[in-house]
Structures are given as C-alpha cells and as structure tokens.
C-alpha cells in the first residue's frame, strides 16, 4: 500500500470500531458534517492523521478548513459523524481531559486586560493545576520552557495588550506548548510572522512531531509552506475533502482542480521540496466557494 492510499479518505475503507487499539495522539475523523444554520459547511469529511505527523489542511477560502479544525478541537459539535483523538471521542470528553489531549490556536480576539506574557503562557497549565491559587514548580518551569521554545522569552514581562500581531502569535503558540497536549491544531500558525520567525516556527512544529511524537494538524494559507513541512496534505474544497496525498505526489492537475489556478511545480534543491508557482488564474465557475475578498 502506498502512503497516498494510506491517507485516502477512510470512510469507505473502515467499518466503525474495527480497530481496537488507537495510538496516542492519532486523529480519526469519521464522516463529519457540520452546518452553520442551514448552510452546510462540512460534507461527510473523513480523514486519519497518524501520531507524530505534521499534516496540512489546504484549499481555497471558504472551503471549510477552519471549521473542520474547530470540529476536531471539540469546540463545534458535528451534526453527523464523530472525531476520535487517541481513540477517545472528543465531543464526549470532560473539559479537563480534552484539553490535556488537544490544543487549538487560531485567530483570537485581542485580550481586554493587561496580563503579562508569562501570565498568559502559564494559563496553558489550566488543565493540570489543582489549587485555585498557586502553580507548582513544574508548572512554572513548563511555562518558561514553552516561552523559550516559541521564541518569546524576552517578552515575558511585557503586557499582552502592547504586543504586535506577530508577537501575540508566538505567545499563543507558547501557551499551546505549555499546555503539553498530544495534538496541536493550528489555524495559520505563521499568518502574522515575518520570514525569519515563519521558518523558526515551522522548524519548531516539525521538531515537535519528530522528536516528541506530537501530532500537528494545521491550516495553511501558503501552499509552499505546507508542501515543504507537512508529510501529508489534505485538500478541501466546498466543504469536502477532495485529495489526500504526500507532497511529492502533488501535480498541476490537482492544483488546477482545487484552486482553479494554472501553476508550475519547480523542485527547489536547497530545501529539497517542490515549490508551487502560480502562473494564471482560471475563470472561477459560479458554483464554487464564495468570491474572494479584496480588503
């Protein structure tokens, strides 16, 4: 079996509870549908992410990537289907148990009060602390280590209200690391970062998966970043999962099918990865996702 087949949407290949033992950190999405009001945003999506993998969710705007991530996180409840993480049904776990297993970092509102960066990162220990009042030495050490890992140690005493978007994003990732879960769900983890921090952040994410066996499922806006760092790409379009493949299986046809864009694929020797170079946009059929925003 090729890796490509292994990551195919598994609704057909799996019959419910056939697999008894689940690996810690493995994500299984089974036939998930979700609607905002009457608008169906996810249509029968099934996918598997093995433990210790970096997987990317990619696709055009409005494809349902962020919604899928929120359903997997437990925040949104699917109208059909279920999500298993480490073999446990996410939507039936207690808050504490769920947040020890999964963390989610995405677009957060600006905080309203002047917490320091260190206080913010420490909140990642919320699922573990027992006392109302104090954190243990281990909790404090975990917060320090997380800030170091996510490049915001020098921000420790800054007020969170005074940070730039990029700095805030690093703090959110630090808090997620401090939470020490098995699964990281990241919605555009590099959206506000400059070139240097973008690379550092992606290296960090790769290391988390390789060295610490953490599972990462991230939404990427930048297809090249996904191709370079993820070991599996999930392409979504109009609420459905349309392709699941390894980066080296990517083709012009797939990009045209998903994005309606003619692109060239160029191999970049230094990074040993394929680069997608968009050439021209095909005319968008009226039936696909909502029109792009020009703001």
């Amino acid at each position: 079996m090729t890796v490509g087949e292994q990551f195919m949407p598994c609704g057909a290949c799996d019959t419910g509870e056939s697999r008894v033992q689940a690996e810690v950190g493995e994500i299984r999405v089974k036939g998930v549908s979700f609607a905002y009001g009457r608008k169906l945003v996810l249509k029968n999506v099934s996918l598997d992410v093995p433990a210790g993998t970096v997987a990317a969710l990619v696709g055009p705007n409005g494809a349902g990537k962020s919604t899928l991530l929120k359903v997997i996180s437990g925040y949104l409840r699917p109208s059909e289907g279920e999500v298993l993480v480490s073999g446990k049904p996410v939507h039936r776990l207690s808050s504490r148990e769920r947040s020890r297993l999964i963390t989610y970092t995405g677009h957060e509102p600006r905080p309203s009060f002047e917490f320091t960066v260190e206080e913010t990162v420490r909140m990642g220990r919320t699922p573990y602390v027992r006392s109302v009042f104090s954190e243990s030495k281990e909790d404090l050490a975990a917060a320090r280590a997380a800030m170091r890992a996510a490049f915001c140690e020098e921000l420790a005493n800054r007020a969170i209200t005074s940070l730039s978007s990029g700095e805030l994003q690093r703090v959110h990732v630090a808090r997620a690391i401090c939470q020490d879960p098995e699964v990281f769900l990241l919605d555009e983890p590099t959206a506000h970062l400059d070139l240097a921090f973008e690379l550092l952040m992606m290296e960090l994410v790769s290391r988390m998966a390789q060295e610490r066996k953490k599972t990462v499922l991230a939404v990427f806006h930048d297809l090249n970043l996904a191709v370079r760092y993820a070991s599996v790409l999930f392409f979504m379009k109009d609420g459905s999962l349309v392709h699941s493949l390894r980066p080296d299986q990517l083709s012009k046809e797939i990009i045209r099918d998903v994005y309606n864009v003619d692109a060239d694929l160029v191999f970049h020797p230094a990074t040993r990865s394929w680069r997608v170079v968009p050439v021209s946009a095909a005319v968008r059929p009226a039936t696909t996702s909502p029109p792009a925003r020009y703001d």
Partner: protein
C-alpha cells in the same frame, strides 16, 4: 510595562487601611469617642447604661461592618462582571443588575414580605430581580461570546429606566407604601443592625467564596470564550456560576444599603491598575478595598453636615461619576471596543 504592586504588599497595606478606617468609623460621628475608650468598650462587650458603649455596640459597629460587607460585595460583583463581559465599563449599576434587584426589593416591600418574613426575605426577592436583569442584559448585548461596549451600556440604561418606571408605577398604585419605598430607595446604612450584618454576611460571604474559586476560569475567559474552552474551562458552567453568584452578592448589597453606585466600577479598576488583572488576587484585594471605600464614604456621609445624613449613594456618585466619564472617553479614544 507599568510596575505593579505585588499582591502580598497590597494585601498588607489594604488590611492596615481597613483597620484605620474601622477605627475612624467607630470614633467619629456626632459624638467623638477616643480610641482608648473604643478599645475598652470593645474588650468589655456591650454594657447597659454606658452611652459610649451603646453608641459603639448598637449604632457604629454594625454600621461599619455592614458598610464593609456591602462595599466588598459590590466591588467583587464589579470585578466579575468586567471579567465576564471582557469589558472594563461593566458594573452592577451600569448593567442594570442593581436596578433589577431594587425592583425585586420594592415588590417585596409592597407585598409586605419584608415585614412578614423579616430581613432575610428581602435579599431573596432582590436576587430574583438581579438575576432576571443580568440574564436579560447578557442576552441583549452578547453575540458569539463578544460583548460590544455600547450595546452593553445601552441595554443597561434601558433596563434601569424600565425598572425606574415600574417602581414609580408601583408607588402610584400602592400609595400607602410610598413612604416605606422612598425611605428604602434613598439608601444608606442608617438602618444597620446586627441582624442585617448577619443576614448580609450570610448572603455575601459564600457568594464571594464561590466567585473566588472561579478565579482561574475568569482569567482564561479574559481571552475570550473560545480560548477558555481550549484551555480546558467548562465555559458554560463557569459562566452560569459567575452570573448567578455575582447577581446574588449584588442583591445582598442592594437589599441592605439601597442603591450605592460606582463602587463596583471604580474599585476593580484601581486595584487592577495597581496590582494587575490576575483574578486570584484581584478578587480578594478588590473586596478589601471596596469594603474600605464604603466605610469611608459612609463616614463622610454622616459627618459632613451633622446631624444631617447625606445618602451614601450620593457620596459615591460624586466621586464615581466623573471617573466613569473619564473611562468612557478613554475607551472611545483608544477604540477598545473595535
């Protein structure tokens, strides 16, 4: 970042201030009682035939304690509402929660429940009014876990005016009770007794304790409900506890002291500015500070023009209203609710 006063330092300082304020509250009034006398009287306990003892034990001491408990209640309710609505303009009066509590209490007075069941029933009815208006304002102003400042303030105003007219209507329909209602809505701590101190403490202290146990969830909620959810907070459960317990302590405050505005708005602000937004410290420190502030406000109310007593709500409004306006303009300038 502005330097903060460490929680412990502030705790020591504010406790010392409370001791000073309590002493002043016992010593000053139409008759001055020297500190030496006060310590003797407090040691000896209440004694028949001793005028000073009578003043201290039946008038000033319960009054000072009631002021402390209610000032603490209103401040804690303010902290919780600001944290929950993620909005520094929230407080029990601005949101109309206290007005709801007033309506409950007035209905109680008209129905004679206050007389029949004694002091204990009034806060219960005030609580019904408070929780009703809390849920109403919350539903009106919060969309997808975000609260818009202006919708919040306007809903609060709408609820307050609605309640004022309902109270006016009640006063017209039950004219024989007008005097009782007016006396109550004037507010003030002049009716303080040991019984009311005990009743207020029985409602407020457990309420404040329950709220303090929610300090961590409240911290997480400052980052929005979704972030709190991902950090492992049982968001809906925590919100329910926070709303109900803060309505309870507001009701206790309103039932025993009548309308005393702005304490719940100003105190949390000042304490947060000095010691930081961590609710584990902010809640107890605001309680002590708020208690202290209301003792001092009441002291001013009864010593400015003796033997006249200015309603304590007037004093707090004189200091608090300009602060509220300052905040409002600051919020608008910084575009905080964008």
């Amino acid at each position: 970042m502005r330097k903060r006063v460490p929680g412990r330092t502030y705790l020591v300082a504010v406790t010392a201030l409370v001791a000073v304020s309590v002493s002043l509250g016992l010593a000053l009034g139409t008759v001055f009682i020297p500190i030496g006398e006060i310590t003797r009287i407090l040691k000896e306990g209440p004694r028949q035939g001793d005028t000073f003892s009578l003043i201290i034990w039946t008038l000033r001491f319960p009054r000072v304690l009631l002021a402390f408990v209610e000032g603490a209640s209103l401040s804690v309710a303010g902290v919780v509402m600001q944290g929950l609505f993620r909005n520094p303009m929230a407080d029990p009066y601005v949101l109309g929660v206290a007005s709801g509590a007033s309506l409950g209490a007035v209905v109680g007075i008209v129905m004679g429940i206050g007389k029949a069941l004694g002091l204990w029933a009034l806060p219960g009815l005030a609580f019904l009014g408070a929780i009703g208006s809390t849920l109403f304002v919350y539903a009106l102003s919060t969309k997808k876990g975000r609260t818009d400042t202006w919708t919040l303030l306007l809903s609060g105003i709408a609820v307050s005016s609605l309640v004022s007219s309902l109270i006016a209507l009640i006063m017209v329909l039950w004219r024989e009770r007008v005097e009782e209602i007016v006396f109550w809505t004037m507010g003030g701590l002049s009716r303080a007794s040991w019984q009311s101190v005990l009743a207020a403490a029985c409602y407020s202290l457990p309420g404040m304790w329950v709220l303090w146990l929610q300090a961590r969830p409240l911290n997480a909620l400052s980052f929005g409900e979704e972030s709190a959810f991902h950090l492992g907070v049982a968001v809906e459960k925590s919100k329910r506890i926070l709303l109900w317990a803060s309505a309870l302590i507001t009701a206790s405050g309103v039932a025993f002291t009548g309308p005393v505005g702005f304490v719940g708005l100003v105190v949390p602000h000042v304490v947060r500015l000095l010691t930081g937004p961590d609710h584990r410290w902010l809640l107890p420190l605001s309680a002590l500070t708020g208690g202290n502030v209301l003792i001092l406000a009441d002291l001013l109310a009864r010593t400015l023009r003796p033997p006249l007593e200015i309603p304590v709500g007037v004093i707090t409004a004189l200091f608090g209203a300009p602060f509220f306006l300052y905040l409002l303009f600051k919020t608008r300038r910084s575009g905080m609710d964008e």
